[in-house]
Homo-oligomer: 146 residues x 2
DNA sequence: GTAGATGCAAATCTTTTGCTCGCCC
DNA sequence: GGGCGAGCAAAAGATTTGCATCTAC
């Protein structure tokens, strides 16, 4: 898994350094969509010498290479996750927890909407903000619940 | 249209001032989803004395009252628009232009996804990033093209 | 060896806040 | 009249940048 990402990096012509691979490792072990500062604090636990600007530079670099994805909760900071099988987010309005889901029907609809407007989908950002309602019989492919 | 928004404000117990109504007017006349600074620059053209903090305070106030909506392009600043009939955004990857659309099927899918995960949809954020592909026969309700 | 990466400090940019004065209801 | 809003200046928080040094290839 980590080797896979490292390969993606070298394929993208990204020079691999101790800091960068530590940042990748940190992201892979984080299942909570950390912001840059949180990535930094986790990384610095293992390598005292790593710095926040390096984290920012690496995250931007990785994002540009399509290796990680920037996501946007409305909290004023960018959050990051490795690009995995494409999924979207449902955010619990009461506690902020992020649930991931995957739904083919949804993607088809997006494609057809874009097509109707003369466009082809390159990417999409979808966040549902929801509130628990008791019943819960998950039929869509729910990847993870944090 | 503007009267309508002003009424929404007073209904929400928002005290109306010259600055606030100027900000509302500015938003209504902007069809490009301006960020706070752009709202400020447009407003200051008409009232030299208005200040940026006032714009921020007003925008936050309006957002809290459900009168305007904050939207999040991945550019690090919050952008705003009056709450109109619910719609979503398609962003042209090449020139950044924002197209708005409305699609009932999409909403139904979101509802059912949330329901399957035990949630009820409170709100959603959807952005499609797309690239023109020549053909363009818009069947979905496209509200505006900027 | 050299282009590119890092750390540090400081700048930049967006957004928020403290405070005093002024205005809406 | 009194509380809430506005402007100003400054703080706070997130992110970026300049520069000297170090390192991967």
């Amino acid at each position: 898994m980590q080797a896979e990402l490292l390969k993606k990096c070298t394929d993208a012509g990204i020079r691999m350094t101790a800091q960068r691979s530590l940042i990748i490792e940190t992201l892979l072990e984080s299942d909570d969509h950390p912001d840059a500062d949180r990535v930094y604090r986790r990384a610095v636990e293992r390598d005292q010498s790593i710095s926040l600007p390096t984290v920012y530079r690496a995250l931007n670099l990785f994002e540009g290479a399509g290796i990680i994805k920037k996501i946007n909760m409305n909290d004023g900071k960018a959050r990051f996750e490795p690009v995995r099988n494409d999924h979207d987010h449902l955010i619990d309005a009461d506690n902020g927890h992020i649930h991931e889901f995957q739904n083919k029907e949804l993607k088809k609809i997006l494609d057809s909407i874009a097509k109707e407007m003369g466009y082809e989908v390159i990417e999409h950002r979808i966040e549902i903000v929801g509130r628990r309602n008791g019943e819960s019989n998950c039929d869509c492919i729910q990847i993870k619940v944090y």
